[in-house]
């Protein structure tokens, strides 16, 4: 079970060494590596539940350890599937960016690191791969080597490493108190009193430490900056892998290390919830103000990630389920939105929202997919966003605190309204530019991208609908 972690890293190193000259050869190699790895991951996720593997002892009491449990398996499968789609998309997209050998090398390596995070069996292992993920993704952010991307990479590094360091202190307190950092659903801190100050401190440290990667206020600033990266990176890393790694780590700490019962009703919980609610509103409001499409999506990500953290911070089974639903739903929806934005950028070099007027006539597939994903994100009933909001609200109601529930609910509603405004305005203008708008001139030479892009997009659009319909059974797999 260490294979899915090692294989992509080795493959990535090989790409760096071999320095492929031919595009086709590299594509074959990368596809093979990613698909084989994804297949192994899916196989392990299905049959390998409960497998444990301990390697060298890194810290006394906490060796590097892998274990496959429901949450990890679901997370890994999701990442693996999305990775395959993205890699095909990236073949086409990266042709206009250049430097593909380095790009695909690190892109593939990041896959292995993500598997390390998903299958990590204790906090130390999680932390190890979490740090590695930061470093392995820097070359991807910095890809076009412009001054913006260098700044972005610097900001990203400073934020992530500092955050991880803070989280490490939280982990240290947990390890010190419990003597072990293994993951057990419900927590390992059995002998500690409810709401002990040390535990609250540990929770807050790790919440905000890991929260840096999931862009919780006031540590969100790196994410919009990092959206200068090539679209496959923004899509996969800044909508799915990296940011979700932060959320995943918070989920692990909250539900598998400390245990929600110890924290329910404490000050730490209220601080965390307040931070997420402020972030939800702030992200949506900022997204509305942004006219740059990818930056708008980045702010939208900030807002949507805090939905997950909000669910996790509710410290209940329902909150956890709602959070996980939002985690999977948002991953698939946001990656679609980013890939659509990338397709537009690739075909037309248009980055700003007002440039998209009437583009739906020329790029029907892309914009239809974009529209479906928008509906999914806003939460129009049969699609995923609706059910995650539903479960989050139900969890907020069950939390026992009326003020919290009412407040959370109102914020979710306002945020949904803002989301609707900033996404639907794009869709409407794209398809219905209005009478008298010269669509022909505006769309001169614009067409849908080729199969490498449209097929992943179509698959994702179908997946959004299917996920929306089957959200209950899928999520229950992760929560078992």
């Amino acid at each position: 079970m260490i294979v899915p972690v090692i294989l992509p890293i080795v493959a990535g190193l090989y790409i760096l060494k071999a320095d492929f000259k031919e595009r086709a050869a590299r594509e074959r190699f990368v596809s093979a590596a990613v698909i084989i790895n994804a297949a192994i991951v899916l196989l392990l996720s299905v049959i390998g539940r409960g497998l444990t593997l301990s390697l060298l002892p890194l810290v006394p009491g906490s060796p590097v350890m892998f274990r496959i449990d429901s949450l990890g398996a679901m997370f890994a499968s999701m990442v693996a599937i999305l990775w395959i789609l993205c890699i095909f998309y990236a073949y086409e997209y990266m042709t206009h960016e250049g430097g593909e050998n380095r790009f695909f090398a690190f892109y593939t390596m990041a896959f292995g690191i993500m598997m390390g995070i998903s299958f990590a069996g204790n906090l130390i292992t999680l932390y190890l791969f979490y740090e590695l993920l930061t470093f392995i993704t820097v070359p991807l952010v910095i890809h076009d080597e412009s001054i913006q991307s260098k700044t972005a990479a610097r900001v990203y590094l400073i934020f992530s490493v500092s955050g991880a360091t803070v989280a490490l202190m939280g982990i240290a307190i947990i390890a010190f108190t419990a003597g072990t950092t293994e993951f057990v659903y419900g927590g390992v801190l059995s002998g500690v009193a409810h709401g002990a100050v040390a535990i609250q401190l540990a929770y807050l440290l790790s919440f905000f430490g890991f929260g840096v990667k999931s862009a919780v206020m006031p540590f969100h600033a790196w994410l919009p900056v990092a959206s200068v990266a090539p679209t496959p990176v923004s899509a996969l890393l800044h909508a799915v892998a990296v940011v979700k790694a932060g959320v995943f780590a918070v989920a692990r700490v909250t539900y598998f290390s400390i245990g929600p019962d110890l924290l329910n009703g404490t000050t730490a919980q209220y601080i965390a919830i307040s931070a997420t609610l402020v972030t939800i509103l702030y992200g949506s409001a900022m997204a509305l103000m942004m006219k740059h499409l990818k930056r708008r999506l980045a702010y939208s990500t900030i807002s949507q990630l805090s939905y997950i953290l909000f669910g996790l911070a509710l410290m209940s089974q329902d909150g956890y389920v709602g959070g996980m639903m939002q985690l999977f739903g948002h991953a698939i929806v946001k990656i679609t939105l980013f890939l659509c934005a990338g397709a537009i950028l690739y075909k037309t070099h248009r980055e700003y929202v007002w440039e998209l007027k009437g583009i739906g006539r020329a790029m029907p597939v892309t914009m239809t997919v974009f529209t479906i994903a928008s509906f999914g994100l806003v939460g129009i009933p049969p699609l995923p966003g609706f059910f995650s909001k539903w479960f989050l609200s139900v969890a907020a109601f069950k939390s026992g605190s009326n003020a919290l529930a009412a407040f959370g609910l109102i914020i979710l509603a306002i945020s949904a309204l803002l989301t609707a405004i900033y996404l639907f305005s794009i869709c409407v203008n794209a398809f219905i530019p209005g009478e008298g708008f010269d669509t022909e001139t505006a769309n001169k030479g614009v067409s849908d991208p080729n199969r490498y892009m449209t097929v992943p997009l179509t698959i994702l659009a179908i997946a959004i609908i299917v996920f929306g319909v089957l959200v209950q059974p899928i999520t229950s797999l992760a929560v078992m």
């Binding site: 412009s146 490493v161 206020m217 009933p381």
Partner: protein, 768 residues
Amino acid sequence: MTSYILPFLAFWPMVASICSYLIGRKNKQTRNLFADVVTGVEFLAAILLAYTVVQQGTQYFSVPFWGHDGLLFEADGFRAIYAVVTTLMWMCTTIFSAEYFAHYHNRNRYYLFMLMTEGATVAVFCSGDVLTLFTFFEVMAFTSYVMVIHDEKPGAQRASDTYTFLNVFGGLVTLMGIFLLYRTIGTLRIDEIKELCAALPDKRPLYWAAGLMIVGFGGKSGMFPLHVWLPKAHPVAPAPASALLSGVLTKTGVYGILIISCHMLFGDWIWGCVLLGIAVITMFGGAFLALFSVDLKRTLACSSMSQIGFILTATAMQCILTSQEETLQYHFYAQQGAILHMMNHSLIKLVLFMAAGVVYMNLHQLDLNEVRGFGYRKPLLKFIFGMGVLAIIGMPFWSGYVSKTLIHESIVERIWTYHDYEFAAQVFRIVESIFTLTGGLTTAYMTKIYICVFWEKNPYKQDKMDASNGKYMNKASAVTLTLCSLILPFFGMTVYKTMIPISEFAHEFFYMTGHPHEVHFFQWMCVKGAVASLTIGAIIYLFIVRGCLMSRDENGNKVYINAWPKLIDIEDRIYRPLVVTILPFIGACVTRAIGSVVEVIGRIGFNVFWKFANWYIPRKPNAHEFIAKSKEWYPKHKVDGQKNFAFFKKEYDESAIETWDKVEDNRTVTPIERIPVLDDIEDALRERGRKESWIDRLIAAVTKGAKEGFHIPFFHHLFDRSVGEFGDAPMDAHYGLSAMLRQTMAYALIIFATGLLIAIAYVMIVSL
């Protein structure tokens, strides 16, 4: 009983819509025919459903795995009736659409969304739990949006913006109400709601839930004060879409309100009174607006609002009548009035809007002065429209009379159970007089448009109007319209054979109990109400419409004046300013304030940490120096290239110039994202004549921002756009990865050390 007709009704049009789209790309004629067949099959399925319900009682179908608790479809009498009405209307408008849309663009898109809307609408009426209802309600809201905006004219865009905003906003508020309901009673099944709600000791959460839910449902049904989209959207939507919007889609809102008042708050006096107040305003307001309109379809739209008011009055009366023992026996008046008026209004508006569509199809005009005299020599259209008019004004022997009489009776019965001196009796007297007055207004405005279009001659271009005689609509449309219009007198004349059984068929949904009393519709007792309304209508028409709302133009001909009361347009006076200006302003201020707080924290953090981290990295010129230099050299570099450029390059390297270019570019990007770039801040500083520090810069920027519209600089903007504005941090754009890593490590170390100190201190304190 499980019935597979229910999911078929919901999903067949949705599947077919995609087929129709694909067919439409190949052949338009086949597509039209296909759509007719689809809606026809849907209609037959609805009939079959109604037949099954008659035979076997309530039908169910559930899709367990979907979403939260699965989808649940249910059909009892009421829902079956409404499924039939909906599918009938869809079939008729689809047949009519083929001719109406003959010269339109984007017809394929219209058919795609029209069919999808049909599936969603039928599913709304056949929903068995509130979540299913809400799901399809939202789907319907978005698919119908495309039908409203079809023309893509500025008016249509504006109206559909309002429509969709109201939908999204109303949907979210309704969803909150549904949450509250779910939390309070723990289920959303419509047939369980009533008992659980009645058993609740504390009704307050229910009032909250009802108050929230009615925002979405009321908005859709055109209830005051959320009616604003209705008079705007109907005139600009294509006529078949208007017929559907007005006839069916508003009824989905009414259906939601029925769930609130007949299930959640069954027999609740307070809710009944509140709803009655709103309903009376809606009823009277719609009729009042319609009187001033000189746009054919806008009159009909306002009339829809008014008729919805009648239906809501019936619903409210049902709540009021069931709330007390002594009036319980009369509640069937209100219930039968509600269901029958819903059905009648759908069918009447189908006829009227399609007839108006025929006018528009030929003339492409809707202004009364322009379409005047169109029907002067067109007997068939005159007959069709006349049937609609007679039905809607409540003429005895037409269908509208029956339902209006029932609603009127319900109010009268309520008055009779009071003593004359009681305050409540006076209030209900006033309600009754407003009801009669509104009936009069209905007569007046319908007479106005009927006489204008069909009885008067056009003083200027009667020849042009008569040119299309005999060929103004094709056979299919003519047959459809005639048949639809014949339903109205047919129902009205065979009350006891058709309408009363239909309303009794719906008893289950309304919890109707006991045996309804015989109502003698054709005795003087009942007829006198209608006569009063018609008389008032005639007086209003003669004195107000002919007297005040018409004037003579320069040639001495009487024309209609556009007296549309713009002053009381709630949308333009309140909603638009609120949503477009005031709320975003407040929101932007709050967001920017939060952003600034974060920025200040960040700046303090960076200033503090930078003092430490500085030891690790050699000093480079800071932002201020960089800008000063660049400003000095940039113009020269542009004018006289190589020499200065070389100097610049030596000093700051190429990437720095690139930065400066980018900063310059940013200034032209967009007003909203514009940041007060370096110049603004520097100018402000120069004015102040003080030594710079980060706090000075911030103050300067805020001062300037306040003047120009709150462009306070943000942390992320600083990172994002102009590297030059990064406080005292070095311009290390040309530093490379190793310097970055060192810097990062420095930060990390400092944070870690601080944390470690805190941790050690903490452990020491705890162990002490």
